[in-house]
């Protein structure tokens, strides 16, 4: 059996996104995933991705419709696709309802975009629910927020670290170290916050980015991912072998074992992540459900 490869940060489109090519884009993700060897896409849909309401400020109805589309994809592709339930924390009751609803249908985590700054108390009810159900929270992050940017209320590693310290039993995933901004700032901001892991996705493929990530966080706090550029994901996957910091065991952790610990064993069906991870600067493990 091929060793798993979990894409911890993927997105799919749906007809409500207003793009006539949405099926082609989804097919391209699956095609490229097969070529890369991805065995599980852990994915989310952010409402209508800007068509009916803004990508990072999705209206509740759009959130629900996007999550429904994601649930349908999970049903269609079974073990190949797992879902993060997207919520807008400005609508607390709706967010809680969506989490409960999608969790019942197999969601393996929560996706927070950029609707509210990460350290805002409005996020606490969502994180309390995450703690109760042992769900990880993937948070969109701008690597070093030096100013405001349009169309999103950006958060950086320092903002996420404040949230993570308030909710020490929740595993937070700092999104896309290659997704724009200064990733070195993020490493410094989250290094000492063991319940934050980072995903390697994003269009950035700076040399030194991975080496510094492994050096700062340790291989057990990194999840491999692609986001919306899969060629950069493949490049980073290959580059891991040449960081000089990653052993075969480290690479296995980044490829899938960390993901299985964070999202649960369903993302790497048939494989055991190992009940007791090697601990390097804190390595979160998904706790059994209460």
């Amino acid at each position: 059996m091929t060793e798993p490869l979990v894409d911890a940060h993927a997105h799919f489109l749906w007809e409500g996104c207003g793009r006539s090519d949405w099926r082609e884009v989804n097919s391209a993700r699956l095609r490229a995933g097969e070529a890369i060897g991805i065995t599980c896409h852990v994915a989310s849909i952010l409402g209508t991705f800007g068509y009916a309401s803004p990508t990072y400020f999705p209206a509740p109805d759009d959130v629900t419709a996007g999550n429904n589309a994601m649930l349908a994809l999970c049903r269609k592709h079974r073990a190949l696709v797992r879902m993060l339930v997207c919520v807008n924390p400005n609508h607390t009751a709706h967010a809680k309802k969506e989490i409960a609803r999608c969790l019942e249908h197999g969601a393996v985590g929560i996706k927070l975009a950029a609707s509210r700054r990460a350290d805002d108390p409005m996020l606490d009810p969502v994180c309390e629910l995450a703690a109760r159900h042992s769900l990880p929270v993937l948070h969109h992050v701008w690597q070093h927020r030096r100013r405001e940017w349009p169309n999103q209320e950006v958060s950086d590693g320092a903002d996420l670290a404040r949230l993570a310290r308030r909710h020490p039993t929740v595993t937070f995933i700092l999104a896309h170290i290659g997704g724009g901004g200064d990733y070195q700032h993020s490493y410094a901001a989250i290094r000492d916050v063991p319940n934050i892991v980072a995903d390697t996705s994003g269009s950035g493929v700076d040399r030194g980015m991975l080496d510094a990530a492994v050096g700062a966080l340790g291989s057990q706090r990194l999840l491999w991912g692609s986001d919306i550029t899969m060629e950069t994901g493949l490049a980073k996957l290959r580059a891991l072998e040449h960081t000089g910091l990653s052993s075969a065991e480290d690479i296995r952790d980044i490829r899938w074992r960390n993901a299985a610990r964070v999202f649960g064993p369903s993302v790497a069906r048939g494989f055991q992540a190992g009940a007791k991870p090697r601990r390097t600067r804190g390595s979160p493990t998904r706790r059994p459900k209460r």
Partner: protein
């Protein structure tokens, strides 16, 4: 395969691991890339690139068979034709120019003069849209990206002009390509080190619309992972699996 977009030397705004010719040669081996056209990264930021070019020429001597120098020439600097003559003598296939860093706006006649002189000498001009993502730049790095209008202006400067534009994205490429006549389009070649692959498949779309023959292979090493350009080719849809790129050694043919 020839990598037309490699550099050596440090970058002023962040740490770049071992940007040395010896390491580059090993990377070419590992990635099965036959040879590279190599610029000198610090020269982009020097006021006078002449000394940087001297460093480049001497650093590449031990690797002369695989690493060809691509010196930097500022057309607003005295005696730039002397630098061009030196580039020819050193066997350079191209020269690098950074008009956006030198505050030479689109349509600046000095850039046109350089492009024309290079064309007459059968040297391409290598332009760089960006070294880094705009979102991660150092506060002192305020030059901004190269503008598509600058490329269009140079492509129109003369029939012998040959441009290699590196680090452009899909929109930039399309804006330039479809803003040129068919004759002018043939003067511009693109590397795809910053063009997105799947699921958006920008590279496949560009191959389908403007043709793979307008593209050359470039990695943007040492700033970007050398594996990325190869990954972009490997993840193309099946119909583009055998797409043929332009041969950098034949930019002036036809």
């Amino acid at each position: 395969m020839i990598d037309v977009n490699a550099l050596i030397g440090p970058y002023p705004f962040r740490y770049v691991p071992h940007p040395d010719p010896d390491v580059l040669a090993r990377v070419l081996d590992r990635e099965e890339i036959a040879s590279a056209w190599v610029g000198h990264l610090p020269s982009a930021f020097y006021r006078d690139a002449t000394q940087g070019n001297a460093q480049l020429y001497s650093a590449l001597v031990p690797h002369a068979k695989r690493l060809r120098p691509v010196p930097t020439i500022r057309p607003d600097w005295p005696d730039w034709p002397g630098s061009l003559a030196a580039a020819r003598e050193a066997g350079a296939p191209s020269v690098r120019a950074y008009p956006q860093l030198w505050q030479l706006g689109p349509g600046d006649s000095r850039m046109s003069e350089l492009a024309i002189a290079c064309g007459e000498a059968k040297l391409a001009v290598t332009l760089t849209v960006r070294f880094e993502d705009l979102r991660q730049r150092h506060p002192m790095d305020v030059a901004g990206d190269l503008q598509p209008s600058a490329v269009r202006a140079l492509a129109r400067a003369g029939q012998d002009v040959r441009l290699i534009v590196t680090a452009a994205g899909r929109e930039f490429i399309e804006e330039v390509h479809w803003g040129l006549t068919p004759a002018e389009q043939k003067r511009v070649f693109w590397d795809f080190s910053w063009v997105w692959g799947p699921p958006e498949d920008h590279l496949a779309k560009l191959f389908a619309t403007i043709g793979s023959h307008r593209f050359v292979f470039g990695t943007h090493w040492p700033l970007r992972l050398a594996q990325n350009a190869r990954a972009s080719l490997e993840l193309l849809p099946r119909e583009h699996a055998r797409a043929k790129l332009a041969d950098p050694d034949k930019l002036f043919a036809g």
